[in-house]
Amino acid sequence: MNISILKNAILVFAMASYCSIAFAEGSVPKEIAAYREMISDGNPAEFDEMRGEELWKKPGGPNKVSMEKCDLGKGTGVVKGAYAELPRYFPDTQRVQDLESRLITCMTTLQGTLESDITAKPFGGDNYKPEIESLVAYVVGQSKGVKMNVSLKHPKEKEAYEIGKRVFTYRAGPYDFACSTCHSQDNLRIRMQNLQNFSNAKDAQDSYTTWPAYRVSQGLFRSFQWRLNDCLRQQRFPEPKYASEVTIALTMYMAKNANDGVYAGPGLKR
């Protein structure tokens, strides 16, 4: 078939309803919000929650023990609402732990899994779903609708918060970036994406209560540890060690600032 006829036919086909849309200054955030609303139903993170629940309940690890005896801070085996109070101080480990570091504690002490086996590849990828990420999906899903209530009563909780606040403003690397470079003012964007101001309660709540999340651009469920890891990558920092104190402190700072927000994860993100 003649190429020019082909081209012309396509043109005719598209012409009738084609119009170039000029975007007024204020309409872009509105359009993005409309897009997000349109994709908000049908979150594939539900599959990760399902898988996580199975993993939580079935015997696993070298000890062939389930995770049901794991204490996430609200007593042995209590999952409901646990995420809304994390990070917190745990007397048995004598340190402040976020969800992932606490899951590591349970997976190692109860199930006998080696910590290095968990932390070697903690983030999902092509045809690879680490158990800890699915467990995260299950646990956070059990706090849906619960108000964030992170405590700073224990001195170590207070200290973690203070350290997190300092890490947040630590400028370094070839770009001189700190977390606060992008996340300490209202109503800013990077490209099209809104940047949350973590010193503003509303922003901190909106953001923290919708992570972890299924990321449509990657087609994967992502944990909060992943979120921090990828932020720091784009900050041009070296890699934070998985579930390390620096990541727990940052999480504590953000979680506390989100207090009173209603937890709504797992979220669905661009």
Partner: protein, 210 residues
């Protein structure tokens, strides 16, 4: 890591201890500052081209961190002057390159992360923070809009030089600015910066056309 940067490194930990605690609260703060730095140094690891040395702050980063981007005037002016001194201006006296190459650079948000290859040239990341050409709607607002940059300011040599300097090291004019020091930190080459200047200034560039 580039050599110039290595020379300039001042450990933040030094600064944390420099402050003489006058009261108990200050002492607690200083201890927390020191502990924070120790944790940062311990809890990161090298990955790809992003080495842990990147966490060692230079004097500018340390001062801006310590004063949450509002440093005392005296320190600020001294360091701004030092940063201005260190700008390496093009030897041929020309500030403009190819605006088309500049446009591609402005769109390109890669460079310097641990997932970037060591020999791949970095992008300019401009649209992450600035509005530039009117046709590109996916632009950030962290930095000022640069729409019609050349049209508004006039395409004079002085403006070209100003734009070159700003991209090379914006901290020479505003010590704790958000903008990375693209030349100073060897993120972009001289030729790349010239392409970006052309993208901003050239009357044919979409920044000024539409």
């Amino acid at each position: 890591m580039n050599a110039k940067w290595a020379v300039e490194i001042v450990l933040a930990i030094n600064l944390a201890f420099l402050a003489v605690p006058a009261e108990a609260a200050d002492k607690v703060d200083a201890e927390l500052d020191a502990k924070t730095v120790a944790i940062i140094k311990r809890d990161f690891r090298d990955k790809g081209i992003a080495k842990v040395e990147r966490l060692n702050q230079d004097e500018v980063q340390a001062l801006c961190t310590k004063f949450l981007d509002k440093p005392p005037r005296k320190d600020r002016e001294r360091l701004e002057a030092e940063q201005a001194q260190a700008i390496k201006w093009p030897a041929d006296g020309k500030y403009m390159g190819d605006w088309k190459a500049g446009e591609r650079l402005a769109q390109n948000g890669s460079g310097m992360t641990w997932s970037d290859k060591p020999d791949a040239p970095a992008g300019g990341n401009c649209y992450n923070c600035h509005q530039l050409a009117a046709k590109e709607i996916a632009y950030g607002t962290l930095g000022p809009s640069l729409l019609h940059f050349g049209k508004i300011r006039g395409n004079t040599e002085a403006t070209q030089r100003y734009a070159y300097g700003q991209i090379y090291n914006a901290k020479a004019n505003n010590l704790c600015a958000n903008m990375p020091r693209f030349g100073h930190m060897s993120i972009l080459t001289e030729a790349q910066i010239k392409d970006l200047v052309a993208f901003l200034m050239d009357p044919e560039s979409p920044v000024n056309k539409d």
